[in-house]
């Protein structure tokens, strides 16, 4: 039988009625590899009779074939759904499972234990009300137990159930159990921000204290896992916070109607309430709250609604409708906590995209204040974050956004970091607070403009940006180009990679992070040159597409000329003017572009020069033709 309730066969209508009243509880299971997470979920599905006969017979068949439990049922096979997972016997990605009792419907996020899949674990934790953290009684509190607990607490789960598993392997020893609970509590008190920790001694494999109370642990008087889940109160914190609704989409079926759609993130609102619109601060009042099922007098957190306002104010996607009595903050610089989720390390200074609720902005990650070692909770100095590392850093945006701190409001304070080139989600971020510094520094307005400076020299300012491998011929062409421009009466300046590294950038090395900072500084200097009316020529390897894009965005569109000196690596290496390739090949120079560090060729440069066909002289003429056109 699939669902257990007498009512199903005797009175289906009453059963359906009672099912309508159920609440929803989302929880996550986490812990180290082989702590038995999947086994626990399989056991819960089995004991709540959520398994069908055909699934059970398939499971029995699979258990014998590829299971790890001899002739017993291997419940883990129920939830490890990907072929690679079943073959390797590990969980790679978060899986969602569903079961219901007479009281609640449950959504379970079963998450991977391996460290390399921590980002998938964070995905599961971000929507959970409760976390079940499993500990193998034979192993005790492990690094991964601490890591998962820290992430669970960081994303704001306040209630933790500590399931001390595999108690059958330690003869149901109360002593072992007490020791583990005490070890965990010591750690949690110092490191985590939780409301409650409830510990239960279990054997997921044999079913002890999962649904039914076990006779083998007479010393344990508390609830079973299912009892805990059935009874725990998850008060809807979102309802007690001030009203916020990020606008998703403007509904304009005809010229007479303009409705703002969204999922209410927090609080409650009713018709007639005063609201403030962010960013900007326009105010209005709620005219109506519309749903397909009719107009509502009020609506609260968790509902998807359409709102109309009494005033004709400009509202679009990314705006936030908030209560005017307790509005959001607005800022463009924040301190935030970041969990890095990409194989490519985070690079301070590089531009990414921030997405928070329905708002997006260009994001620059600042220098890291520190990295948090989740094993020791020490704050360590760090220049970058690798996959699965957590750090604290300042971020700055290209525009002001509306926010609340993550602690006060998850929707308004949580964001994702998106890589501009791959479009992947590479980080999870939590806003701690806004930095006030930017508000006090205003742009100084100048009377003499770039245009007037350029006019004085009768020229159009340009930024001619050379990029290419070391030894490709950038500097030689740049040198000839500048001489020719000068003879034409143009006022120029050349910024050369090697020269700049002797001065302005002498503190930088050749790691990816330093290369990004190198280009950022050069970009800013080049921008000042262009603003002074000059034709600025730069000659840098500038290997990464995202930094070249960043520099391009600093000046006007028609001012930037990207010149790709496209000399094949083999040719550069053969020429090896400075003898650097030989050194790099023998391992004397680490992070050498083309050998041990990547070069990302431009996709659409303004000018592409093939030095195997054109001489430096011809190349310079090609560029002059382009700018005088």
């Amino acid at each position: 039988m699939a669902h257990v309730s007498e009512l199903i066969s005797t009175d289906i209508d009453s059963y359906l009625k009672s099912h309508e009243e159920k609440s929803l509880l989302r929880f996550i299971t986490c812990g180290s590899v082989d702590d038995g997470k999947s086994t626990l979920i399989g056991r819960m599905l089995y004991e709540s009779k959520m398994l069908f006969d055909d699934q059970l017979s398939a499971l029995k068949h699979d258990s014998k074939k590829i299971g790890t439990q001899g002739n017993e049922i291997d419940f883990a096979l129920l939830v490890d759904g990907l072929a690679a997972e079943r073959e390797q016997g590990i969980t790679i990605d978060v899986a969602y499972r569903f079961f219901s009792t007479d009281k609640r419907k449950y959504i379970v996020a079963d998450t991977p234990g391996h460290e390399e899949y921590t980002r998938n674990m964070a995905t599961g934790a971000s929507t959970a009300d409760v976390a079940i953290i499993l500990i193998d009684a034979e192993q005790g509190v492990l690094t991964q137990t601490r890591r998962h607990s820290f992430i669970v607490s960081m994303v704001g789960v306040k209630k933790v159930l500590l399931a001390v598993n595999k108690l059958d392997l330690v003869n149901y020893s109360q002593e072992v159990y007490n020791q583990i609970v005490s070890d965990y509590s010591d750690f949690a008190e110092n490191a985590l921000d939780l409301e409650s920790i409830t510990a239960v001694p279990i054997s997921a494999l044999l079913g002890d204290n999962v649904v039914e109370k076990s006779e083998k642990t007479p010393w344990y008087k508390g609830e079973t896992i299912m009892q805990y889940l059935e009874n725990i109160e998850v008060k809807n914190q979102r309802k007690q916070t001030p009203f916020r609704m990020p606008v998703q989409w403007v509904n304009r079926p005809n010229s007479g109607f303009r409705g703002f759609t969204g999922l209410i993130a927090s609080g409650e609102t009713k018709v007639g309430d005063k609201i403030r619109l962010h960013p900007g601060g326009n105010e209005s009042t709620i005219e109506s709250i519309i749903t397909w099922d009719g107009k509502l007098p009020k609506a609260s957190a968790g509902q998807s609604v359409t709102i109309t306002l009494n005033d004709e104010i400009d509202v679009s996607r990314g705006d936030i409708i908030a209560t005017s009595t307790d509005p959001c903050g607005e800022a463009d610089q924040f301190q935030s906590r970041i969990l890095w989720m990409s194989d490519d390390a985070m690079i301070p200074g590089r531009q990414y995209i921030l997405k928070s609720n329905t708002q997006s902005a260009t994001l620059t990650l600042g220098r890291l204040k520190h990295r948090i070692d989740v094993n020791t909770l020490d704050h360590l100095p760090a220049k970058t974050l690798e996959l699965n590392e957590i750090g604290v850093c300042n971020i700055s945006l290209d525009k002001r956004i509306a926010f609340d701190s993550y602690e006060n409001n998850q929707t308004m304070g949580g964001f994702i970091v998106i890589d501009r080139l791959s479009n992947n989600t590479v980080g999870m971020g939590l806003i701690d607070f806004a930095l006030r510094r930017s508000e006090n520094i205003h742009w100084q307005k100048m009377d003499v403009s770039k245009e007037s400076r350029a006019e004085q020299k009768s020229q159009i300012p340009k930024l001619i940006w050379f990029t290419g491998l070391s030894g490709s011929g950038k500097s030689s062409i740049a040198n000839i180009l500048e001489k020719k421009l000068q003879s034409l009466g143009k006022h120029t300046i050349t910024l050369d990679g090697d020269n700049i590294r002797h001065g302005l950038n002498r503190d930088l090395g050749f790691t990816s992070a330093d290369r990004v900072e190198n280009i950022r500084r050069v970009g800013e200097v080049a921008k000042l040159m262009v603003n002074s009316g000059l034709i600025c020529i730069t000659s840098f390897i500038s290997p990464f597409e995202s930094e070249r894009k960043m520099v391009r965005s600093l000046v006007l569109e028609n001012e930037f000329i990207e010149v790709f000196v496209d000399t094949p690596l083999s040719v550069c290496e053969e020429r090896d003017v400075k003898g650097l390739y030989a050194k790099a090949r023998s391992g004397q120079i680490p992070n050498f572009t083309g050998i041990s560090s990547p070069y990302e060729p431009p996709k659409n440069p303004e000018i592409r020069i093939d030095t195997t066909k054109a001489s430096a002289e011809e190349a310079a003429n090609q560029i002059i033709d382009f700018i005088t056109e």
Partner: protein
């Protein structure tokens, strides 16, 4: 807030995100009960406006005739744009599941047909009615699920999906399948149809219908393309369908349930899972994952 209210609000939120960020979205409409729920939710999401995208049915020429009638009537009643695509190559070669088998029929008419249609209309986002409780590899899939330009799914390389914040930025040629019903279960679907009085294809309700037995499965005699052995006469039995698809590949169950509560009761008391009536899942253990990697919805 009940769990159904929460699931409804979540699905509406997902649909609005897509419409706000996609260039050219479409809703895959299979005419089944899940599609009916999804379409109903779309009406709610964009009320008082109309549904701002077309719905698309990948027809295989072997669907139950009542499905086709229901499909056309629904599109007309709701005033939505309906696109019907049939793989012209499959049509040309006279694809016939009775002759060519279920696997080839599904590959050509459903998987290839879907890919053709998405490419032809340049849809960048397609809604699907799949649920995570249906099958093991579905349970692992994100709500916003990316496909390469060849429509392939890479289960080992899925983007983290945090809170209800969806990253819909895609690279040239990539497309996204979006599943607003990810967190619904079969019971939730039936309960919602019951509560909201959503119309569904009458085949779900029991009725006397002509059937023949093939390999222990009851197949509806939907038209005269079904090969009958000499002297074979269809039997009249009180049957209904738990899932809908191509009639030669979809087994009927004997049942007296002709109201929604009775259907739900039968479902709750049954001992086999929903997809068992479908031949595709039996092929091999990871067959759905493989099919999905190849572009099956």
């Amino acid at each position: 807030m009940s769990h159904l209210d929460a699931l409804e609000a979540e699905a509406i939120h997902i649909m609005r995100e897509v419409v706000a960020e996609a260039e050219n979205p479409v809703m895959l409409y299979s005419v089944g009960k899940d599609s009916s729920v999804m379409l109903h939710l779309a009406r709610k999401a964009f009320h008082p406006g109309k549904i701002p995208f077309p719905i698309m049915h990948i027809d295989t020429m072997w669907k139950f005739s009542e499905m086709i009638d229901f499909r056309d009537k629904t599109a007309k009643d709701l005033g939505v744009d309906l696109i019907v695509h049939i793989n012209p190559e499959g049509k040309e070669m006279g694809m016939n599941p009775f002759i060519h088998g279920s696997s080839k029929h599904t590959d050509v008419m459903k998987t290839d047909g879907l890919k053709q249609a998405l490419d032809k209309h340049q849809f960048d986002v397609a809604f699907g009615g799949a649920r995570r409780d249906e099958e093991k590899s579905r349970a692992k899939e994100r709500i916003f699920s990316f496909r390469t330009s060849k429509h392939r799914w890479d289960p080992k390389n899925q983007r983290p999906e945090l809170w209800n914040l969806y990253n819909s930025r895609k690279n040239q040629g990539e497309s996204i399948r979006v599943f607003p019903l990810s967190n619904w279960t079969e019971l939730d679907i039936w309960q919602y149809i019951h509560l909201e009085k959503i119309p569904i294809v009458p085949l779900y309700f029991s009725k006397e219908r002509p059937v023949v037995e093939r390999d222990g499965t009851l197949i509806l005699v939907d038209d005269d393309r079904i090969p009958l052995t000499e002297g074979e006469k269809p039997m009249m039995k009180s049957v209904r369908f738990r899932t809908l698809g191509c009639y030669p590949l979809t087994g009927a169950v004997e049942s007296e349930a002709d109201t929604l509560p009775e259907i739900i009761q039968e479902m709750l008391l049954t001992t086999t899972s929903e997809r068992q009536g479908r031949t595709i899942d039996h092929d091999s253990n990871a067959s759905m994952e493989k099919k999905k990697q190849e572009g099956y919805f």
